[in-house]
């Protein structure tokens, strides 16, 4: 049972990244893989600042800013230098690897005896439930803020940009600026997942971001399938479904581990699972 609860909390921690990928992939239709780098960047910053006795709460703005900056660089390379989005993301992701390694100064850093966000707030005495409650409150807040943002005039403009650029240009929207802001937001949210996971797992590893984008992608795909299936129009509910997708994804992985699949094969299982999610709706269509 505790095994699944752990997966549940991890799903919540990673949900922030899934919301970020929802923004880049679903709203802007940009395949952004800066994710791997900005996720680790969030975790690295968290580790450094925590070991320097920064309060966990104060680290949040720093992590958001760093993630946003990474996304902005990708966005600027993509829109102003006019380089393919995928390549821009790879460039920044690769550069971030060195930056992260330089910042951390070593390949991993345990965070065992520092006060972190999970230990600094107490809702329940049992740590599993406390983690769960904290993750839940945290992600609810983020989901709420995002839902509000996407319903404002600015948010409508953002959502329209991914739909029809001729239209948004004609309606006074600077599409390039919008994309840079969108990628900044997406990677800020991704860095926030790095922040949460580092503290939840009590360590930061320079390789922890490798392939993480596929986890986010899978969560968004699960979310998207459900959004289509239930025909969900409300933005808030769409985000809630993406968060649920993230949790579901971790539960499925936990389940595969529990039936005895070799942990070394976890990334293979992840990739296979994502492929499956993409294929199922197609099989149904071709019926």
């Amino acid at each position: 049972m505790e095994f699944y609860l752990t997966a549940l909390v991890l799903g919540l921690c990673l949900a922030s990244m899934s919301l970020g990928i929802f923004i880049s992939m679903k709203i802007f239709r940009i395949p952004d893989i800066t994710t791997d780098g900005s996720y680790t960047l969030g975790a690295v910053l968290t580790a450094i600042l925590l070991t320097h006795h920064c309060s966990a709460m104060l680290i949040i703005p720093a992590v958001l800013l760093a993630g946003a900056l990474a996304g902005m660089v990708t966005g600027i390379i993509h829109t102003f230098v006019k380089i393919d989005a995928l390549l821009s993301g790879i460039l920044v992701m690769t550069a971030l690897y060195s930056i992260n390694l330089t910042l951390l100064g070593r390949s991993n850093l345990p965070l065992l005896d520092v006060q972190n966000i999970f230990s600094s707030l107490t809702f329940f005495s049992a740590s599993v439930f406390n983690n769960l409650a904290l993750g839940f409150v945290f992600i609810s807040l983020i989901t709420g803020i995002m839902a509000y943002l996407l319903r404002t005039d600015f948010g409508i403009a953002m959502r329209a940009t991914g739909n029809s650029e001729p239209m948004t240009r004609a309606l006074g929207i600077n599409n390039n600026k919008m994309k840079v802001i969108g990628l900044a937001m997406a990677n800020a949210l991704t860095a926030l997942s790095g922040y949460l996971v580092a503290q939840y797992q009590n360590f930061t590893d320079i390789n922890m971001g490798i392939g993480i984008v596929i986890t986010g992608l899978g969560s968004v795909l699960i979310g998207e399938a459900l959004i289509k299936w239930w025909n969900i129009r409300s933005i808030l509910w769409q985000l809630v479904v993406v968060v649920s997708g993230s949790i579901l994804f971790q539960l499925v992985l936990a389940f595969t581990l529990s039936i005895g699949v070799d942990p070394n094969l976890l990334k293979l299982v992840t990739a296979a699972f994502v492929l499956l999610i993409v294929l199922i709706p197609r099989l149904k269509k071709s019926e």
Binding site: I156, R159, S164, M167, T168, A170, G172
Partner: protein
């Protein structure tokens, strides 16, 4: 209101597929003039609108709108004067957004897009009343994704969206081409009413010579990137349809 001076536009310059879409074009359009434009496929009509709106920048020449030189001004900044209905019905609206969201965006075309929620009951009522004038029954589908509507319905909505915010220039690129005859008439009547109601300066591109004869107080014919005929209001009134057809005979 709109002044094009010596405008040329060459696509793919220096390559084998080089096209001169517009050549040494001069055009002055007065305030509140309603210009109809006819011309064969590929004669440069859409490019002319794109040059005015800023979607395409000219290879040479100058553009002035209300006395301001806008030659290098990007499209999104020129939107403070210009609203447009695209030739492709899918371009003018954001398909995954609801009718309401689309109208909201159009209603703040000339304004900054702020972090406030602008869709309230007053706004909804305004949109509903506006859409009801079309008589297409769309006023009860405000929350529906606009992509679920037909091309013609979307084109009709795009037209209404163009006057949601302060507009001085309206560019219509074959707005009725995708529509059935009844809706086509409706769209053009609506457009013509909006143009006189809001005192707009307008350009209407059409392949339908009857439309061109019926609407607008000036008529241009384009051919191979040039304006080859410029017919004033008085001449246009006396111009028989048969003569217009003759323009297109080879």
């Amino acid at each position: 209101m709109i002044e094009l001076q010596n405008i040329s536009k060459v696509f793919h310059k220096g390559q084998v597929n080089e096209v001169c879409a517009l050549t040494d074009l001069f055009l002055t359009i007065q305030k509140e003039e309603f210009v109809s434009v006819v011309g064969a496929n590929g004669s440069g009509k859409t490019t002319l609108l794109n040059i005015i709106s800023g979607a395409v920048l000219p290879s040479s020449g100058r553009i002035r709108i209300t006395e301001t030189d806008v030659t290098r001004l990007p499209e999104y900044k020129r939107s403070r004067w210009i609203a447009r209905v695209f030739q492709d019905p899918l371009k003018g609206t954001a398909s995954e957004l609801s009718i309401l969201d689309n109208f909201r965006l159009a209603a703040i075309r000339t304004q900054p897009k702020n972090l406030i929620i602008g869709i309230n009951d007053v706004f909804k009522k305004k949109v509903r009343d506006s859409i009801a004038t079309l008589g297409m029954g769309l006023e009860n589908k405000l929350e529906q994704a606009i992509g679920t509507l037909s091309g013609g319905q979307r084109q009709a909505l795009t037209l209404l969206m163009s006057v949601m915010d302060d507009t001085q220039i309206l560019l219509l690129d074959e707005p009725s081409a995708a529509l059935d005859p009844r809706s086509a008439t409706l769209i053009l009547k609506t457009a013509s009413e909006l143009i006189s109601q809001y005192k707009l300066t307008a350009i209407l591109i059409t392949h339908n010579l009857k439309e061109a004869q019926l609407y607008g107080n000036r008529l241009l014919q384009m051919s191979e990137g040039k304006i080859v005929r410029d017919v004033s209001e008085e001449e246009k009134k006396r111009l028989p349809l048969s003569e217009m057809y003759a323009w297109f005979d080879i």
